[in-house]
Symmetry: C2
Subunit: 539 residues, 2 copies
């Protein structure tokens, strides 16, 4: 067989040959939506490759991006790796000290930055030791008064570049192509490096019928940011398959997302549950025509059953939960139905949709405890471990590698059970698990149950130290505004009693204003535990 | 990223974990249909690995299979390569001298053979220099009076073997896994060696929505033989995706195929046009319920538009033409619709379905003539060339490698045009092309036009030497039986005149009884030219 390397470059060539007339829609500001053909896109991407090379980009160099989802970011997604360099997609929602850390740690030498995000970097630009060039992206960039040193205008660079630029064909498929940092519970973010091979194989997996089945006929809207785990791989896969892309740009709202879906007849969209909660609420108030949507992919944290039902039953839109993380490119599993599940009752189906799903081809998962792999009984908890060709083998230049990567497996820190059908169900983070009297209590199960209560907006359940039981659950509940004054602890606890063993029922309910969240919308229960470290349960 | 090799072994492990209750249906004789769960299948496959290892199978050893499509062949499909050996799938329809050649040339040391096929090998078994063991497969094999030396019963070997056998995990992904020989126009067949990597990537491609979208919900019936280009990869991909498999066994007929489709609610089936012509005829006479079928895949040679219309319009079953060859694993392209084609008229759609289709992701195709790549105008002919990770780089130990593999590309010997949308349309074999007065005339286009004539059963158009024009087309036509005595040359030529330039109209029509065909049902036009070498066109 031919020794053909798996390279992202082949995606670009394919898009140029076959999908030149297809569209990329880019919302570049609250008032501007631009459309490009793939032909124009590839031409601009070649120009970017030329421009960056002229600026000194070499193979292996790290090039940072600090940007929303738009066509320029998509150009960088291919121009940098196809030239043999590494695109470091920086999470713009990190704390300043973390942004400073990741740019210095990755040793980014060029930084592509949205004009409206310059104020987030400018205060510490002088401390970015390795960055030689800042390239400012925007529709009408003026570098007058730009607070960044060595600043260039992206569009001016492109105007001076040639689309005759040819990306090298001699890259090894294991050449690093991209990197993302993931927040750590304590300490600085940890870096993950993707390769051409891993991104190619991951892209292909998104086209499988048993996963998302992304295809040329699709119109994909990645709400998940392009600085978050490769926007779940959608931008790469869309170029491969010639999928029409709708990139929602900066400062979008549920209204804007729904307008984009309706206007561009979006077929597939992806994002975190928090986004979909807002979208569902808006759609109920001001319904749009969403009949083009064949699939909403939700991940990053568990999807409440009420949310899934809202889309599937009210709106008639399939709502899939997936599981993944920065370390896994990210697709690991997705909650599609196996053949025998098509005969399930609607209630049973909704329970399946709320699971983290079935492991994708080419990836292996095991849920393990001290005794090895746990039985597939849906109740025995263990830590989820993963291996496969698009799973990280290490953190980039980081001693914490040894904590997560053992015996060829990634230890995720997620506590899960495996259903008899082989569906993963995350029950907790290792650090959030409540260990009460030798038994493991899933904070996530309790939260999900609380969040189905009609008076509850959000709920987080955390472990509180306990003399006798070591730990006991405390429920922290955000009521819906209209029930703020009338909701009672007792009615919430009573609603749980029918669903859980008595040892699982929280010892107390605390009403709070909001659950602290990470930059990607995940509950920050470590923060909640810290805030409440002096709280004492009333007994 | 983890350095995880792409191995077929992972398919087996995945099927065992997730799809243990799914079914493999195996028609092992005209009177027997057996059903196995994937759990039983994997258990038997491990036993086969154990049994073959005990017989002396080692890494790199060639193990031949000489068998129909059934569960035992499917067990060999995995047991041999997962143990690090190479399964040589021998075409049972080859001439005896070719069968003898390929087994000796591949140096098969073990040969798995169907009991009902023993008579095809027995006459020259003594000349098989490298074969140390014959393993006879069947439901009730008796070795009494078996004419083969060192014969074993497959089932007896399995009965004595253990399913605790563990396949190695340390194989390199470039380890040879399988091989097939392909018939040459002249001389002995040429061997192609597949690797684990190439078969894994090819399998994944069958699951892409833009190709066949094979998935867990499917029930696949490969009519294409397992000794012909890996049965187009369906057996491998079905194990990966947990697809229910229906293996049609020996001596099937259109009736039997239709019964299997109806009984097992087959969703996807694949085979050559000759098969589908018979199936369509039978379905018209004795209709079955085919409502489960979502896709018929046809390849190996061009599908007549009448056949496509018969399935799509009369039966309501999507009928996809694909293109591939033994050297390409085989999937290269498939005639799915691009987004803008969904608005085509029915006639336009049927023209698309008759093309060889759009090149699959990860594979590159170019149609080239002396001046380089031909324009995508749908008329300029050139030779189709292909490269990619599941395309052969050579023929196995064969000097003819240099004829077909040049500059990193496979030269297919097929003459084709590229439509403006990038769809491949095969117009001829290089050797069948008619070169008349400096112009290329496509024999295939003329044949397809003739075969849409209501009085024509089959037609082959070949080049005849011509003093002035170098070559001129001669049409060799098999009339439908009922028109045998009334059909005229003139009415056939008249029917062509409206469709082709006058230089393309054949100089003569010769009525024949049948078109000579290869072991896989392709027209043998070289044979026809040889038979007619003394024929002179009446002027």
């Amino acid at each position: 067989m031919m020794d053909t390397p798996l390279l992202l470059t082949s995606f670009l060539n394919r898009a140029e040959r076959f999908f030149h007339a297809k569209k990329i829609v880019s919302r570049t500001s609250p008032t501007t939506i631009q459309e490009f053909t793939y032909k124009e896109y590839v031409s601009r991407t070649r120009k970017l490759g030329d421009a960056l090379t002229k600026l000194g980009m070499t193979r292996g160099m790290k090039v940072g991006s600090f940007a929303w989802n738009h066509h320029r970011h998509l150009e960088a997604y291919f121009a940098v790796p196809c030239a043999g360099a590494v695109l470091h997609m920086i999470n713009i929602r990190l704390a300043s000290e973390h942004i400073l850390y990741v740019i210095n740690h990755a040793e980014d030498e060029i930084l592509l930055i949205d004009d409206n995000l310059v104020p987030l970097i400018a205060p510490f630009a002088a401390q970015l030791k390795t960055v030689k060039h800042f390239i400012v992206m925007g529709d009408a960039v003026s570098l007058d008064n730009c607070p960044l040193p060595n600043a260039h205008s992206y569009e001016e660079l492109l105007a001076a570049a040639s689309d005759d630029f040819v990306f090298p064909e001699d890259l090894d498929e294991n050449t690093p192509a991209g990197m993302c940092y993931t927040s750590a519970t304590t300490g600085m973010p940890k870096g993950v490096v993707y390769t051409h091979r891993s991104l190619v194989l991951h892209s292909i997996s998104l086209g499988l019928s048993d996963n998302t089945g992304l295809c040329e006929n699709d119109v994909a809207l990645p709400v998940v940011p392009m600085f978050h785990a490769n926007a779940w791989g959608l931008p790469f896969a869309s170029v491969l398959f010639g999928t029409t892309q709708v990139l929602p740009g900066p400062m979008f709202s549920p209204q804007i997302l729904l307008d984009l879906i309706e206007q561009y007849k979006v077929t597939l969209t992806a994002g975190v549950p928090t986004i979909w909660l807002g979208v569902l609420q808006e759609q109920r108030q001001n319904p749009r025509d969403l009949s083009s949507l064949r699939l909403i992919l939700s991940g990053g944290s568990a999807s409440p059953v009420g949310l899934i039902r809202g889309f599937e039953e009210e709106q008639g839109i399939p709502f899939y939960t997936g599981y993944g993380m920065t370390e896994t490119s990210p697709l690991v599993s997705i909650a599609t139905y196996l053949t025998h599940m098509h005969n399930y009752t609607q209630d049973e189906k909704m329970q399946i949709r709320a699971l983290q799903g079935l492991t994708t081809p080419l990836i292996e998962t095991r849920i393990v405890n001290e005794e090895g792999e746990v039985p597939w009984d849906g109740t025995t908890m263990g830590e989820l471990t993963i291996r496969g060709p698009w799973i990280a083998a290490e953190y980039y230049n980081d001693e914490r590698t040894a904590e997560a990567f053992k015996d060829g497996w990634l230890y995720t820190g997620d506590i899960a059970v495996m259903t008899p059908d082989g569906y993963i169900k995350i029950t907790d983070r290792t650090k959030d698990l409540i260990k009460s009297g030798g038994e493991w209590i899933s904070s996530v199960d309790l939260e999900n149950a609380l969040m189905t209560h009609s008076k509850v907006f959000e709920a987080a359940v955390i472990a509180m130290p306990h003399e006798k039981w070591q730990e006991r659950p405390l429920a922290c509940v955000v009521p819906k505004p209209e029930f703020k004054d009338t909701i009672t602890k007792e009615e919430l606890l009573e609603s749980l009693r029918g669903q859980f063993h008595k040892t699982w029922i929280p010892d107390d309910v605390l009403f709070i204003d909001e659950v602290p969240k990470s930059s990607v919308g995940k509950f920050l229960k470590a923060k909640l535990r810290e805030d409440l470290k002096d709280y004492r349960i009333e007994v």
